[in-house]
């Protein structure tokens, strides 16, 4: 089935898909990096997600393609997270803290500390933080992506920010203080 918007000039679904991948690859990889905390894993996740999306791309409406792929990415990460849940729990129990080094965190360390802190959020809270504050999506769109209510998104965002403020990796770090400011 060819979508009405796939004109001959567009080259059909395959070309539309290739253009979409080329245009969105970087942004999707960055989102996946914040969801996974590992850049190589992020690229694998995006590749796997896009390959799956390709198989039914002809059914995806162009005006909802972005939301569709984003949702597929979140679902794929959810599955990855479940499989690696034990590893995540073990990592959370390690007494490792960037703040334990004695402070003085530079910009690079802030990045690592933030990724560490994100890693300790429950999967859904982390997804809410990434979609709401990185993708800059309105709460309604985040709710649609995660398949929950707007109220759930707001409460999860609030709880996630509270956890980040008090996270051990950010103790003494300016970001933890700043998260309490407006």
């Amino acid at each position: 089935m060819q979508h009405p918007r796939d004109s001959v000039a567009d080259g059909g679904p395959d070309e539309r898909f290739s253009r979409f991948v080329a245009a969105r690859w970087r942004a999707l990889t960055h989102t996946a990096y914040l969801l996974t905390g590992d850049f190589h894993e992020a690229e694998d996740l995006v590749q796997t997600t896009l390959a799956r999306v390709y198989t039914h791309w002809h059914r995806v409406r162009p005006d909802t393609a972005e939301q569709y792929v984003r949702r597929a990415l979140v679902n794929a990460n959810r599955s990855r997270y479940r499989k690696r849940r034990v590893v995540h729990l073990l990592q959370a129990a390690l007494p490792e803290s960037l703040a334990a080094d004695g402070g003085g965190l530079g910009a690079g360390e802030e990045r690592d500390a933030l990724i560490d802190a994100l890693a300790d959020l429950p999967e859904r809270q982390r997804a809410v933080v990434v979609l709401r504050y990185w993708e800059d999506l309105p709460a309604e769109e985040v709710a649609r992506t995660l398949g929950c209510s707007v109220g759930t998104v707001k409460s999860q965002a609030s709880r996630a920010l509270a956890k980040l403020r008090g996270h051990r990796a950010l103790v003494g770090h300016p970001l933890a203080t700043r998260l309490g400011d407006r």
């Binding site: 290739s18 970087r26 999306v53």
Partner: protein
């Protein structure tokens, strides 16, 4: 990054800036478009082969089953689970390519209130109800938890609890446990504990703080790989642990983070 929006949590602007700094240090590789398209094509070929094999099995079953039925007495009545936990009744309502496939993953009564969890698979657009706005995409897997006649998260619209998937066996879907309830985001009141499981899980056991166990048996949406088990947690009880087992009663997972 945009300016802070109304209703944002305190510190949201700072967090946006920090997230931007985190990803800025990670320049993405060039988009591997050809590799992704090649992987997608290979996946599509595998799906078509699998569908052809499934179709062949269906044809074979359609021929074989009537022959067997004509040669055997009427089948016995399906037995209820011995432990009295929620019954799971598969009632596929499928007609070729135009109807969703639905199954009741579990139902019963808790706190004097009826509850149920229905799962549905919409294979294509023609299976969607005509009177509803279209979802983001199809195929679609939906879970509809109902407590006391009220659909949980109904405020999120008609497709709340639905996820687009890549077909009847999209391995990227599932793997999540969740507490679903009508109050306080599933943290209080009568709640349903739902686990979207893989093929290896046969049943799950939720241990409550009074020492009681609730057992839910995994149910599969017919014709798909999507499975779930569910139990109803009474309002006055909290969860101590959640275990999942295979058909040989070997424990596959143990979680204690649920309350």
């Amino acid at each position: 990054m945009t300016a802070e929006q109304d209703g944002d949590e305190p510190g949201a602007v700072r967090l946006r800036a920090a997230l931007a700094r985190s990803v800025a240090a990670r320049p993405a590789s060039p988009a591997p478009v050809e590799r992704i398209v090649a992987a997608g094509r290979a996946r599509r070929r595998r799906r078509r082969l699998a569908m052809a094999a499934t179709a062949a099995c269906v044809v074979a079953a359609a021929v074989t089953v009537p022959l067997l039925r004509s040669a055997q007495p009427a089948p016995s009545v399906r037995q209820m689970p011995a432990d009295g936990t929620p019954s799971a009744t598969a009632k596929p309502t499928r007609t070729p390519a135009t109807e969703p496939v639905t199954v009741t993953a579990g139902h019963g009564t808790v706190d004097g209130t009826a509850w149920s969890l229905t799962m549905a698979y919409y294979p294509d657009e023609s299976a969607l109800p005509a009177d509803l706005p279209p979802p983001d995409g199809v195929p679609l897997v939906c879970q509809r938890p109902v407590i006391g006649g009220v659909l949980v998260d109904h405020q999120a619209g008609p497709w709340a609890g639905c996820d687009p998937v890549g077909g009847p066996d999209d391995s990227s879907f599932g793997g999540e446990m969740a507490l679903r309830g009508l109050h306080d985001k599933g943290a209080s009141g009568t709640r349903l504990f739902v686990s979207n499981t893989g093929p290896d899980v046969s049943y799950g056991v939720v241990r409550l703080d009074d020492g009681g166990d609730l057992t839910g048996h995994a149910v599969t949406i017919p014709g798909t790989s999507y499975r779930a088990w569910v139990v109803a947690v009474p309002a006055a009880r909290s969860i101590v642990s959640v275990d999942e087992y295979d058909s040989g009663r070997h424990r596959l997972s143990h979680s204690t983070e649920w309350r």
